[in-house]
Symmetry: C2
C-alpha cells in the first residue's frame, strides 16, 4: 500500500493535490485505516503535506539554506571527542565482503524471532511505559546477579556497554588523569577514556594475560588510580588472565589504591565444552573491581542492555552519573531481556553459539596456521576474534586495503593498541562469518599480504 502510494506520488508533480482518501481507498482497494496509515507514513517521510480543510498535497523537496558555517572551525577549538577508530571499526564491520571484521554475531546466530516475541510480550504489559527504577528492574538485576555471582543490590542496569564504560570512567576520574589499559584492548574503551579527557597508558599482556611486572611499573610511574582489563577472552586476542595471576593483579591494584574496570563483554561467548572463567570480581571483596557485562553481543545490537556490578561508595557514584547521562533504560527493553533469558530458547541459543564459536575459531586458527605461517598467532580461548601479528616491516594499512580489494574485511590492529608497536597486527573476527567461508577468506587475506609485499 505504501509502495503504491509512493508510485502515485513519484508520478505526480510538486503541489499536486492527492485524490481524497475515499477515492484512494477505491483506487487501491483497501480500507480507510490502511489509507490513513500509508498517508501518515508519506507525510512523515516528507513526501506529502497535509493542509487541514484543503487536502493532501505532494510536498516540495525542501532544502534549508545553510549559510556560512566556517566560523565554527574557529569557535570549536580542538575536539574533546576522540573516536579512537571506533567509527572506523563500526564502518568496517558493516562493509560488504567476507567478514573477518565483525563486532556482533551474524543473524544466523541471533534469535531474532524470539526477540520479536519477547518484545511484543513486553509491550503488552500494563506497566510497560512508566519510568522504571533508576537502578533497573529488580528482576533483571536479580538475573544478572545470579549469572555472575553478585548481590542484586550491587547491580546497575545500563544501556549498551559504551554507556556503562562511559559512566564508570567519568564517575571515578575527572579529566586530566591517566588510565592504565591492559593491551591490546577494545577501541571503544579507549574512545571513552580519551573523550573524557583521560590519558590511556598501555600495559602489555603475554600469553597469560596482563603482565604483573609491567603493571607494577605503570602504577609507579603514573600515579594512575584506574586499570581497565578484559580478563576473560579479551577483545581482540581471546586471551584469558591466568588463574595464578588474578590475585597478584588485584594485590598490585590494592597497593596502588586503584579501581579495576573488568570489561566482561564475552561472558556468554565461551566455546562449547570450555569452562568460562568466573568474573574477576568474585576474587575481590573490597569492591576494587567494577565489572561490566553486556547482552548486546549475545542477543542483538539493538537490544542495548548491560549491567555494572560494583560495591561500596563507588556504586553510588556510578549510579548518580548514570542518572545524569540518561536517567534509566527503557522499561520495555528491560522486560524483553527478562523474557528472553527466562524462556526455553535461551539455553539452546547459548549452546548453539558456543558450538559455532568453537567451530569457527578452530577453522580460523587452522587457516591462519596454513595460509599465514609468517604471522604470529595465538589461538583464542574464547570470544569472537584473534589478534594476528604481521611479519616485521609489513604495512598494516596497505594489507587491510589490499584485502578489501579482494573482498575480505579485516580489522586494523592499530585501533587496539596504544602508541608505537614493534610489529603491526590485524584483528580477525569470526563472529560474523560462517565456518565454511573462513578458509576462503583467509586464503584471500594471504594473497593480499603476499601480493602487496
Amino acid at each position: 500500500m505504501v509502495t503504491e502510494l509512493h508510485r502515485l506520488v513519484d508520478a505526480g508533480t510538486v503541489g499536486q493535490r492527492l485524490p481524497s482518501t475515499r477515492a484512494l481507498q477505491a483506487r487501491l482497494g483497501v480500507g480507510p485505516v490502511t489509507v490513513q496509515r500509508a498517508l501518515g507514513r508519506l507525510v512523515a517521510e516528507g513526501r506529502l503535506v497535509t493542509r487541514p480543510g484543503s487536502g493532501t498535497f505532494i510536498a516540495s523537496r525542501r532544502t534549508t539554506r545553510t549559510g556560512d558555517t566556517d566560523w565554527q572551525q574557529v569557535a570549536l577549538g580542538p575536539s574533546p571527542v576522540h573516536p579512537s577508530g571506533l567509527d572506523q571499526v563500526v564502518h568496517l564491520a558493516n562493509a560488504p565482503g567476507l567478514q573477518l571484521g565483525a563486532g556482533y554475531l551474524d543473524a544466523g546466530l541471533r534469535a531474532d524471532a524470539r526477540l520479536a516475541t519477547a518484545l511484543g510480550r513486553a509491550a503488552r504489559r500494563p506497566d510497560a511505559w512508566a519510568s522504571p527504577p533508576a537502578a533497573g528492574l529488580p528482576e533483571l538485576r536479580s538475573w544478572f546477579g545470579r549469572q555472575l555471582g553478585a548481590d542484586p543490590e550491587h547491580v546497575l542496569i545500563t544501556s549498551g556497554s559504551q554507556s556503562a564504560l562511559s559512566a564508570t570512567m567519568r564517575a571515578i576520574l575527572p579529566a586530566g588523569h591517566p588510565v592504565l589499559f591492559a593491551t591490546p584492548t577494545y577501541p571503544g574503551a579507549l574512545a571513552v577514556a580519551r573523550s573524557a579527557g583521560l590519558t590511556p597508558i598501555s600495559v602489555p599482556c603475554d600469553h597469560d594475560g596482563l603482565r604483573p611486572d609491567l603493571l607494577r611499573d605503570a602504577f609507579a610511574r603514573t600515579s594512575a588510580r584506574l586499570l581497565v582489563i578484559q580478563p576473560t577472552y579479551a577483545n581482540p586476542g581471546g586471551s584469558v588472565l591466568a588463574a595464578h595471576r588474578r590475585g597478584e593483579i588485584l594485590d598490585i591494584c590494592r597497593v596502588a589504591g586503584a579501581f579495576v574496570i573488568e570489561d566482561d563483554y564475552a561472558r556468554w561467548l565461551g566455546f562449547a565444552g570450555e569452562q568460562t572463567p568466573p568474573p574477576l570480581f568474585v576474587d575481590d571483596d573490597r569492591g576494587q573491581v567494577i565489572t561490566i557485562v553486556s547482552l548486546t553481543k549475545i542477543l542483538a545490537p539493538s537490544l542495548r542492555v548491560s549491567a555494572v556490578i560494583a560495591r561500596g561508595p563507588v556504586m553510588n557514584r556510578i549510579g548518580a552519573m548514570r542518572i545524569v547521562d540518561d536517567f534509566f533504560v527503557s522499561r520495555p527493553l528491560q522486560h524483553t531481556v527478562i523474557e528472553l533469558v527466562s524462556g526455553p530458547g535461551w539455553a539452546a541459543q547459548l549452546r548453539a553459539v558456543g558450538t559455532a564459536l568453537r567451530e569457527r575459531a578452530s577453522a580460523l586458527v587452522a587457516a591462519v596456521a596454513h595460509e599465514l605461517p609468517d604471522c604470529a598467532a595465538t589461538p583464542p580461548l574464547g570470544g569472537i576474534s584473534m589478534f594476528v601479528g604481521l611479519p616485521r616491516g609489513v604495512d598494516e594499512g596497505a594489507t587491510v586495503a589490499a584485502a578489501a580489494r579482494l573482498g575480505v574485511v579485516v580489522g586494523p590492529g592499530r585501533y587496539y593498541t596504544i602508541g608505537e608497536q614493534e610489529t603491526a597486527h590485524l584483528r580477525l573476527s569470526y563472529a560474523g562469518i560462517p565456518a565454511q567461508d573462513i578458509p576462503t577468506a583467509v586464503a584471500l587475506l594471504a594473497r593480499a599480504l603476499h601480493d602487496r609485499s
Copy 2:
C-alpha cells in the same frame, strides 16, 4: 502459574529438589511450556537453581560477603558527578500525594495502548534487530526535520534528552570552561554541565525571556563560548523568548563566537489554541543554534528517543560523541516512534494534551492567585509548570517539607537556579495532576506556607 510455583517454593526448604516438570504439569494442571517458563522466571529471580542432569532445587538466599570498602572513600577523591538536584527532582516526581512536582504527563494523558501496539508492530519487522545507522533511521530523521523545519541531514537521533545535552556539551567544550545558562533552568542540564567539569554561569530572564543586556555582560566577563537556553515554554516558568529578542540574542552570541543549545523540550506541549513559537534555529543560518527536541514527555518516559538538530562541523562532532557514548538508539524504539507519529491517534493525542494543559494551567494560575496572593507568579504561556516566588524571608525547604506533610508534592526552586537568589521559589507542575485536584492541592500548599510562618 508463577504464583503457584512461588507458593510451592516458599513452603519448601533450601536445597530441596522440586518435583519433575512432568509432575509439576500434572499437579498444577498446565502444559510443559508454561511450566518451563515459570521455572525459568524463578531461576531468573534467584529462587531456584537448575543443575543439569540432577534437577531443579530451591536456592539458598545467597549473600555475597562484602569486605571493607572504606578505602574507596580515600581512593575516590572529590566526585566529578554533580546531580544538581536531579535525583531529588526524580524522587519527588514519584512521591505519593497530590502531585505538583511531576516531570512527565500522567498516564491519563499518555497513550499507552497505542504505544503497545506500535512497539509490537516494530518488533515484528524483519529488520528489527540489526544495527541502525548511527545518525538514526532515515524515516525518523525526516519526520523530525519536517516537524521542526530542518533538513533531515541535520538531524541526529539520540536517546533521552539527557543524552543529547550530554553529548552536545561535551563535544563542544572540554572540562574547565564556563557555560552560560538562561535562568531559571532545568536541573538536568546543570547536572550535565557540572558533571562534565563545566561551570554554569547564571544569566537571568525577565517576562520576555533572556535579558540581552545581562547576556552581553556575561560574555564579556567570562569568555564563555556556549549558551544554554529554553526559548519556548522554559522549564520551570513556562516563559517564551519574546519575538523581538530572538535576533538580538543570536547577534550577541555571534559576536561572542558562541554556540547556543536550544533546549526545545516543550515542542509538543503548547496550550490548545496557542501558536507555539518556531524553534530558535529557524532564525539562524550559520549553525550557531543546536536544537534538542525530545519525545519522552509527549509519548512516554520509557520511550527514550530525542533528536539533535545541528549544522556544520559541530554536527559531525556531536555525532562522533554520540557514537562513543552509546553507538546508536535501539532500532525497535525508533520504529515505535515512527509508527506512533504516523498513525491516526497522534494528532488526536496532541489535541487532547494541549487542551488538558491549557485547562490545568488555568486552574493552577487561578488557584495560586486566590490562595497565594503574596507569591509572585507569572502565568505560563505553555509547557508543564510555573515558577512561583515565595514571600521574602520564607524558607523554601521548610515550605516543601510542610507541604509534603499535608500530602502535596512541590518542586524546590533552588534546583532551577544557580547561586544565591534574592527570594526563594517553588516549581509547581501541572503535568501529573488532573485539573479538578489542583484547587485542593494549592489550598493545602497555602496552608503549609502560612502554618510554617
